[in-house]
Symmetry: C2
């Protein structure tokens, strides 16, 4: 009966894992005890890492982040630590290391990324700054208060948070992996597989050189499995194993108005306003339920398998709870659930700007209006094809589309002018849910918690899993650690310390999995 | 025949002025010669004035601007110089002064404003800063180059520009008036009217305390005419007399999304995006020709008189030239001319913002999206009524409109939530074109130039003329001096020196008009 479930269902798979796993309780208990004894040191290491800027625009900061991670790895006894350069010069290197285990039959690469999303320090809460890691007694959004720097001997609550860019996404992944290994090794545990470590420095920039990096170091990176430690656990607080990720590509739009900003009185009604033009264009891309109206946008999608559809049904639906917490009355999607909707391609406005608002607003007709779109892709979508659909839609709204600053001749000829600047992107990827290695991973994660692990066919967020498959033929499974309310990608990013501690145990369990 | 023209037509009125004026050539020649001998000192005074910040948020800067103007006035021999406070404490005072002329039968108040629009220094061109006045050999937009600080004895070209906030709008008005008087008085000229000077400090903030100020100082400000020196000359380069101005009011909109910014992958397709919601809302306010689709928006408008309509026809149409220079292919307005369109109410997006674009853009669903609207009003419109039409339109798009930050209960109840924050505004005003005083003003301005003066029934830009009428019953006529390509209200604001010099002559001519 157990076997039957294993072959046909998903909740049963998790339930089976609950029953089947002979949890290496001693190992995990020792890992936990080690962490409890060393929380102050672990926090000091993490705070040091978080204080180093890790945004794409700051090459020196990224390099310093990489060398600091390498140093932390060496301190933890990880071997062969090195920075892996791409072929293209100037690219943030990956940080590599390994632990060879005599007699091991498997090799697992643990992946996280050390770069973070761009920051706008002005948008962070008072007292916070993206690269001055700050402790708080809980989520600031829910009444948590900032704490003074940690005094020696202070008891540390698992509900505390550290606020800093990258604290969740994804220096948390780096830290859970290397400190999970540290706790395991220092408490006498022994990995059951050869371990490799690969920490990327361009993930938030769309991993433009990852393929190149993987190809260049193909032999070094040979493995049976990549464990991707990135993203949040389920909103219910349950741990989750994620079998795939949406693809992603950004597209920047600039609509052009008059060459110089004009007095809105002397020219208002006559000179075309690019903000209005952009608003009309963006408004044409979705209907009132949030469904994308761009022709063919939902074509190409490869439907979920029966197993995957079944898995979706078994995921706890906490949509109403999150919606209430987030303070809005009606989600987009015409009644579909969050997990259904993240299995569809999406179009999001990341940001929009024309001239100024607030105290800097002036009575002008702006010269340009900008928006950045984020397109998420599911299996079957191709990011170039998805961009082409958007461009065709823009053209159908009467715009001349250029990839460069418009020339005077173009300005004179085309009443509607938009510059479209697509970034590098990548496609979606999914690993089959019934793969034996996948079962082992689920079982290992299940040993660390009592509640059933959530099994998610696809993460709404993106990871360059497609690139791993393409370049290395690699099997990837994602095991996230961060709290879901972490403000990742935005101001006030934070991690709940308990999630970091749990993450260490999860990683140690994966390093010792059957 | 002349008389007939004077009663019926506008170009004829200007032509008549050309013929009728016995130009006080000696006076104007002396004014010009005085200015030519003192250009360095005049520029030094002006640079000193421009270096003082004059934005609404900087109360100390505004006060320092006012006291500096008072000092410059005293140096020029103007009497009774004083700062006129409003009743409300903390309001930027008006600067007042007067010149009594024995036997004079008229009293004219010369008005300009010393405050400027808000600045965003980051948007200014390299080498420029809003309050570091900088000379250039011409318009930077047309190949002008920044010049080093002025060395003694250097010949000064009238085509040079000074770049600084307020250089055109409207410290130029202040400077043309007080230095016009200086040149007149120092070269032996004598005003034909009692002169009063009134320089406002809140015009760019919508003149919220002007009514209070005028009421408080009603006796001091008794006069036959207000000359408003603000705004640009005609785009053709011709001087103009403007008989009215549109009214104005700003409305800020904030659309609300989730309480905290969300990862656009994990929540994209499900959490409603306020930027998209704002785009759809703004897009609903105009059709593709730029005509406002808000119900009743063009109601209430009092049509132009036959004289005013006739005047419109006589204004040189340089729309195509400006359009080419500004680099766009098609104006809004479905074929109507610029001067026709500025005689209609308008709705302009001054600025729009949600999260970030450019290097700071991140993959998020933003929490809010903001826009600032600028509504211009013509005779017949009431600014409160115009706002009410906009609010009704927003409600018809399914929004719940609040004037405050939405409560949790409102967030839970209303799928579309917008905060609408109207600023203080004022209505439009027009002075009849056939008023005898108006004829005198046109004749006086005409004595300073060869080409016919342009007579504009209404300026597209706004001035609180309505408040002068309401509080004092005052007759107002606007005589601008700035070059039209001055970037007023925006980054890189500048004045062409020749316009400042011409403005001095215009003001001197008005002070000595028949």
């Amino acid at each position: 009966m157990k076997k039957l479930y294993l072959l046909t269902g998903l909740l049963p798979l998790a339930a089976a894992a609950l029953l089947a796993a002979a949890p290496p309780a001693t190992v995990l208990t020792k890992v936990r005890q080690y962490r409890q004894r060393h929380e102050h040191e672990l926090l000091a290491d993490y705070t040091r890492l978080l204080a180093i800027p890790n945004v794409a625009a700051d090459t020196a900061g990224l390099r310093r982040t990489a060398t600091t991670i390498a140093e932390l790895m060496r301190q933890r006894g990880i071997g062969q630590v090195q920075l892996l350069p791409a072929t293209t010069p100037g690219v943030a290197p990956a940080v590599y290391g390994e632990v060879r285990v005599p007699g091991a039959k498997r090799t697992i690469v643990f992946y996280a990324h050390y770069d973070g999303q761009p920051v706008n320090p002005a948008q962070w809460a008072p007292g916070l700054s993206p690269f001055r890691p700050t402790l708080a007694s809980g989520s600031l959004a829910s009444g948590g208060q900032l704490l003074p720097p940690l005094a020696p001997g202070t008891a540390i609550s698992p509900d505390w948070r550290i606020y800093a860019r990258g604290s969740s996404d994804d220096k948390a992944g780096v830290m859970a992996i290397i400190s999970g290994y540290q706790a395991l090794a220092q408490s006498g545990g022994r990995p059951t597989a050869n371990l490799k470590f690969f920490f990327e420095g361009e993930e938030e920039a769309g991993s433009p050189h990852l393929a190149e990096l993987l190809a260049k170091h193909r032999d070094l990176l040979k493995s049976d499995l990549w464990i991707i430690c990135d993203g949040p656990v389920h909103q219910s607080g349950r741990k989750q194993v994620v079998f795939g990720a949406r693809g992603d590509v950004n597209v920047a739009l600039t609509v052009y108005g008059p060459k110089r900003p004009l007095h809105s009185g002397h020219y208002g009604n006559w000179a075309p306003n690019p903000a209005m033009s952009l608003a009309r264009l963006l408004g044409s891309m979705k209907d009132s339920t949030g469904r994308v109206t761009i022709a063919g946008f939902y074509d190409d999608v490869i439907p979920l398998t029966a197993t995957e559809q079944d898995a979706l049904k078994r995921i706890p639906n906490i949509d109403d709870d999150i919606r209430r917490e987030l303070g809005f009355a009606r989600p987009d999607g015409a009644g579909q659930s969050l997990v259904e909707l993240i299995n569809q391609p999406s179009l999001n406005i990341n940001g929009m700007r024309s001239a100024n608002v607030g105290p800097q607003a002036a009575n002008v007709i702006p010269t340009t209006a900008d928006a950045v779109l984020d397109l998420r892709l599911v299996l079957g979508n191709d990011y170039q094809r998805q961009i082409a659909k958007v461009v065709r839609h823009i053209e159908r709204q009467g715009f001349f589309v250029t990839r460069a600053e418009p020339t005077d001749a173009e300005r004179a000829r085309y009443p509607r002018l938009v510059r479209v600047s697509p970034a590098t992107g990548y496609n979606a990827q999914r690993t089959a849910m019934d793969l034996p290695l996948a079962r082992s991973v689920v079982q290992a994660v299940q040993t660390t918690v009592g509640q059933p692990v959530v099994l998610l066919p696809t993460s709404g967020g993106s990871l360059p899993l497609y690139v791993f498959k393409q370049e290395l033929g690699a099997t990837t499974l994602t095991v996230p650690v961060a709290n879901y309310d972490n403000n990742q990608h935005a101001e006030n990013e934070n991690i709940r310390l308990g999630n970091l501690w749990d993450g260490m145990e999860t990683m140690a369990a994966l390093m010792t999995m059957k």
